[in-house]
Symmetry: C2
Subunit: 241 residues, 2 copies
Amino acid sequence: MNEPIEFLYPSKWLTKASTGERVVSELRMQILSGRIESGTILSENKLAADFSVSRSPIREALKILSAENIIRQERMGAVVIGLSEKEIEEIYDVRILIETFIYQRLVRSDITDLVKELNKILEMMKVSIKYNDADEFSLQDLQFHETIIRAANHSYILMIWNNLKPVMEGLILLSMRKRFKENQHDFERIFTNHALYIEAIEKKDKALMIQSLHQNFDDVQGRVEDMWKSQEILAEGGGTK
Amino acid sequence: MNEPIEFLYPSKWLTKASTGERVVSELRMQILSGRIESGTILSENKLAADFSVSRSPIREALKILSAENIIRQERMGAVVIGLSEKEIEEIYDVRILIETFIYQRLVRSDITDLVKELNKILEMMKVSIKYNDADEFSLQDLQFHETIIRAANHSYILMIWNNLKPVMEGLILLSMRKRFKENQHDFERIFTNHALYIEAIEKKDKALMIQSLHQNFDDVQGRVEDMWKSQEILAEGGGTK
DNA sequence: GATATAATACTTGTATACAAGTATACTAAA
DNA sequence: TTTAGTATACTTGTATACAAGTATTATATC
């Protein structure tokens, strides 16, 4: 019944975390990785037993995962939704939507501090690559985009980002770990894409920004065909600067 | 200490609701209406006493309100953020963003069922006006937009809507109640705007859609100057169809 | 064997108890 | 008067108990 569990979420990121936060992080990873399959029905009592905690932090976790749209709470148990290709595409839709929106705002304001900060993160990415630290690299990837979003100082766009962030984090973590084992040299390209993104912000070049954004998404999931699909959508709403 | 509280949230909407849901609905309304002022520090224990319930539903409520960005949970008490003009503008930014995105999708698909459904809601709005039911009217206003968003079948855009919806609901409720007392005839215009929105969908006329969307927002808050500000943003990202 | 009814084993939602940590206020000493 | 230290009254987070409702299963009856 109580097999030893290999945790998917980096424990070092949970140093100051409460039990509830640990549960939600780990549960999310298990759902995103497919270890807990879509359609599975989660019971609060069973989860509490599995994690050896009370129902309180479990309830908290289910509420959060439900808001993240990866489970659905019903009268009898929570149904795991998980992420199909469709949902992952949709997440990218939203990211493109908000990052494009934010970009419009940024190009009108002073971005020197932002660019400096982004370059700092870029250098830290380089170090992560050098030391083969996939988890750290993932964190910096997320930090990169969050820094851009925060720079616009838009609390409701930030709200969307915050709602999306944990799932993104999980996806990126899983993807990067795999790649660090298989395609080590991929990371140089990811690095380059982010450098391109900074350049797009600096030069206020929207086309370049969208290009690097799409390439960045492809780097996470490696789905090239969707790039064009998304770009088509954006093109309609996009136009020239 | 225990003054009789006049509830702001329609009790008829809470027939099947749990204590937690009642608390969150009422607390939200009190914050949005300003009855609980920005900066106020909410204590779980005090709230539990005020609402005569235990801390469990209060905790749940605070988590939800925190995700909605109208309070901020800290180590000692939750700080009420509330909604300033800036935040309300930001909510509209997001609504314009997602409804425009959804619109792009809709014009490519079969919209006959959607238009029929929207017309039904439109007729119900008419009845609400006739019977001076501001609350019911608010509900239909929200339902109108939610129907459009649902039609696109995009779970992550719907997630954003769901995160935004309760606050929107509160804002619209407060606004409509005031207007039903003061500017009764305003509602004919709101009605017309929604009819215009349907027409925009039917005729796949993006400019008309954006126009009616903006007018709709102005109807809620009556802030005309922001209309142009928002349109400027959209214009940059907008272009022609 | 089929069906209706009752018992049982679940489920969630709420209340309460307790532990651990933090801010505040008070007291005592310099 | 100021400062150090302690006591106290908070705070949140977690565990547990209980109530009310639902699904399932077993049993009894036709």
